[in-house]
């Protein structure tokens, strides 16, 4: 082929590609790793329904997501810890926080032969405070009459990296126990008094699977997909509730969303409520400079309605109707 024909071919190809990509709308987002599997599934499914829209979500962590969102390098952010008022004030374009999905945090354990475990509030607070050190302690035994608990030492597994999961878990523990609030408090990473740290939900899952006697906190989806045994926790009403779709939905059903849609049901009161449930938020700007606003709004609207059908499959809790209505109303304020 001559140089000339190569050049012509090259120019033609480039213009076709450029034209094609100009037609495809690109939306980029970054943030929490907890809902990442769901958001990425939504991106794929939405692209099947609307081939011209490509949504790209990077799971970099809630904190990094908020940083990128504040800097304006992404179109939308995602965070398990929403945004504090201080963080919102730093965003010049204004912020709209929309709960996109929800999930339960479970206490998973590795005890060969023990299929059902009930942990009272005293039990699980004591375990994570490092005060209860053996599985056959009286406090655990009294709630599990028919179960033979081995005399293994309790090995706690926690998150070594900063994480929204830790934030929600410690928030719940601080709410139900003053001792925990004083000693450790609530944060994305705290100074756990006992145990080993793993990186990410995957790291903690691996730690739990490795050694008998290990107990740790992970997202429900990870525990379910990896076949980890999950403990039934005692809620405020005194009932022992197992983590599943129904108990998570029960907790969400009784949540009253405030004006800015930011709330953590840190200690739900219903009888069938699972005690540790969290929303996770999509962060959008109030004002978008270009036509992206309409595409993004269409995608988020689809996620809040059709997208919710995929939640249960991946281990997340579908948002209740009341929440979806309020969220769609807030979505409308995005320009």
């Amino acid at each position: 082929m001559t140089i000339r024909s190569l050049a012509t071919f090259g120019t033609l190809a480039a213009s076709v590609l450029l034209g094609a990509s100009a037609m495809a709308q690109q939306l980029s987002g970054a943030g929490a790793s907890f809902p990442a599997p769901l958001y990425q599934r939504w991106a794929v499914e939405y692209n099947k329904a609307n081939p011209s829209v490509q949504v790209n979500y990077q799971s970099v962590g809630s904190g990094a997501g908020i940083k990128q969102f504040t800097a304006g390098t992404v179109d939308f952010g995602a965070s398990d810890a929403a945004m504090t008022d201080e963080e919102i004030s730093k965003v010049s374009k204004g912020v709209v926080m929309l709960p996109a999905t929800a999930g339960s945090i479970v206490i998973a354990y590795n005890l060969p032969g023990v299929k059902e475990l009930k942990l009272s509030r005293d039990a699980y607070v004591g375990i994570f405070l490092g005060k209860i050190t053996s599985w056959d302690d009286e406090i655990i035994k009294k709630d599990n009459p028919g179960v033979t608990l081995p005399s293994l030492p309790i090995n706690v597994a926690y998150r070594s990296d900063g994480s929204g999961t830790t934030f929600v878990f410690t928030k719940h523990l601080s709410t139900i126990s003053k001792e925990f609030a004083d000693e450790l408090g609530t944060d994305k990473s705290v100074d756990w008094p006992a145990g080993v740290g793993g990186k990410g939900n995957e790291g903690v899952t691996a730690l739990i699977k490795q050694a008998p006697g290990t107990v740790g906190y992970v997202e429900y989806g990870y525990a379910a997909n990896n076949g980890l045994a999950m403990a039934s926790l005692q809620n405020k009403a005194g009932e022992f509730v197992a983590p599943n779709e129904a108990s998570g939905a029960a907790t969400l059903a009784s949540v009253e969303l405030p004006e800015n849609l930011r709330i953590w049901p840190a200690d739900p009161e219903g009888k069938a409520d699972y005690p540790i449930v969290t929303f996770t938020w999509l962060l959008l700007f109030k004002d978008y400079d270009d036509a992206k606003a309409d595409t993004l709004k269409a995608f988020v609207k689809w996620s809040l309605t059709d997208g919710q059908k995929l939640s249960a499959e991946l281990g997340y809790i579908p948002l209740p109707e009341a929440v979806v209505t309020k969220t769609l109303a807030a979505l409308d304020t995005v320009k």
């Binding site: 990473s189 705290v190 990186k199 490795q210």
Partner: protein, 321 residues
């Protein structure tokens, strides 16, 4: 015009019309390297200023790392870095030296020697994460088994009881140190082997001619002569061990508690940075940068100490070489 005989470069400069491009390029390249390093140190120091102001040198001795209470101290991580690297070198140096001696002498036929050499050098090509994964599946169960035996056997024994004391964890200082030793082994072996092979054969032959046995030659002549190279290998290995992040973070248990036992989980500075930087905000970022600065200072100190040992060794062995 000056006489060409009196000029240091033999009058070459007076003949050159254009500027010496190659020399300029070399200056630019070396200047750029130094500049980048200085810039990095400057940026890190600037970012860590709030933490330095708040904590000062007490940061090095603080034992608690609590982001939500804004209490930061790196003593557990500093000790973790030093202990894990020290144990890694303790294990890797004799082993690496032994392999290097074996590969530089003719105990084995050349094809076998080549094969072993390539295998050891391949170890250096394995990514850090893969070492971490291998450590999780292979080393942790072994250390856990050993740990459970050791805790029971050494109970009550004065020193060993503390070193192998307490509940035996799989993710522990010992696991991380073992895998680190494996990671720095190729560095030490390759460089030591090169140093041993570079010993002039006249020394070897001279030693044999005087009636020395093979081992007397190796230990008395070859090793001291190659000592500067071996010291260099050790420094490089130590530097790599201190900066190693991923594999250690996956194996060491990431705990901010100090313990005298090798079977307890620990933490390193590099691991701390890798784990917490993504979600850090405010004073935590400044504190993490301060920790990074301390890690760089530690590496610098080790390199300086190594430089002194190197010079001392070269002076001491100058007569032989």
């Amino acid at each position: 015009m000056a006489s060409t005989a009196t000029q240091p470069d033999g009058g070459f400069k007076t003949y050159r019309r254009a500027p010496d491009l190659f020399r300029i390029l070399c200056w630019v390249a070396s200047g750029f390297t130094v500049f980048v390093l200085a810039w990095m140190i400057y940026e890190i120091a600037q970012q860590s200023a709030p933490a330095i102001q708040k904590f000062g040198p007490g940061f090095l001795f603080g034992e608690k790392w609590q982001p939500n209470r804004e209490v930061f101290g790196v003593l557990p991580f500093l000790l973790g870095t030093i202990v894990s690297s020290f144990i890694a070198i303790l294990l890797a140096l004799p082993l690496g030296l032994a392999v290097a001696i074996f590969l530089s002498e003719d105990f084995l036929p050349p094809p076998v020697r080549q094969a072993i050499r390539f295998t050891v050098e391949m170890l250096a090509a394995i990514p850090s994460v893969v070492y971490g994964l291998w450590g999780i599946f292979v080393v942790i169960p072994i250390v856990q088994g050993f740990g459970q035996w050791a805790v029971v056997s050494f109970k009550g024994v004065p020193v060993l009881g503390t070193i192998f004391g307490g509940p035996a964890y799989g993710n522990s200082m010992l696991t991380a140190s073992l895998v680190l030793a494996l990671m720095i082994l190729p560095t030490i072996t390759a460089i030591s082997r090169a140093a041993l092979v570079a010993v002039p054969s006249t020394l070897r032959e001279g030693s044999y001619a005087l009636g020395a046995t093979r081992w007397e030659t190796i230990l008395g002549v070859l090793l001291p002569t190659a000592a500067p190279g071996i010291v260099a290998a050790t420094i490089l290995g130590l530097g790599r061990a201190m900066g190693e992040t991923m594999a250690v973070a996956m194996l060491i248990g990431n705990s901010s508690r100090m313990s005298g036992s090798l079977l307890a989980p620990g933490g390193t500075l590099a691991g701390l940075l890798a784990n917490q930087f993504g979600e850090a905000a405010g004073l935590q970022i400044a504190s993490l940068m301060y920790a990074a600065l301390i890690l760089m200072l530690l590496t610098l100190l080790v390199n300086l100490a190594g430089e002194f040992v190197l010079r001392y060794t070269m002076r001491k062995t100058a007569g032989i070489r």
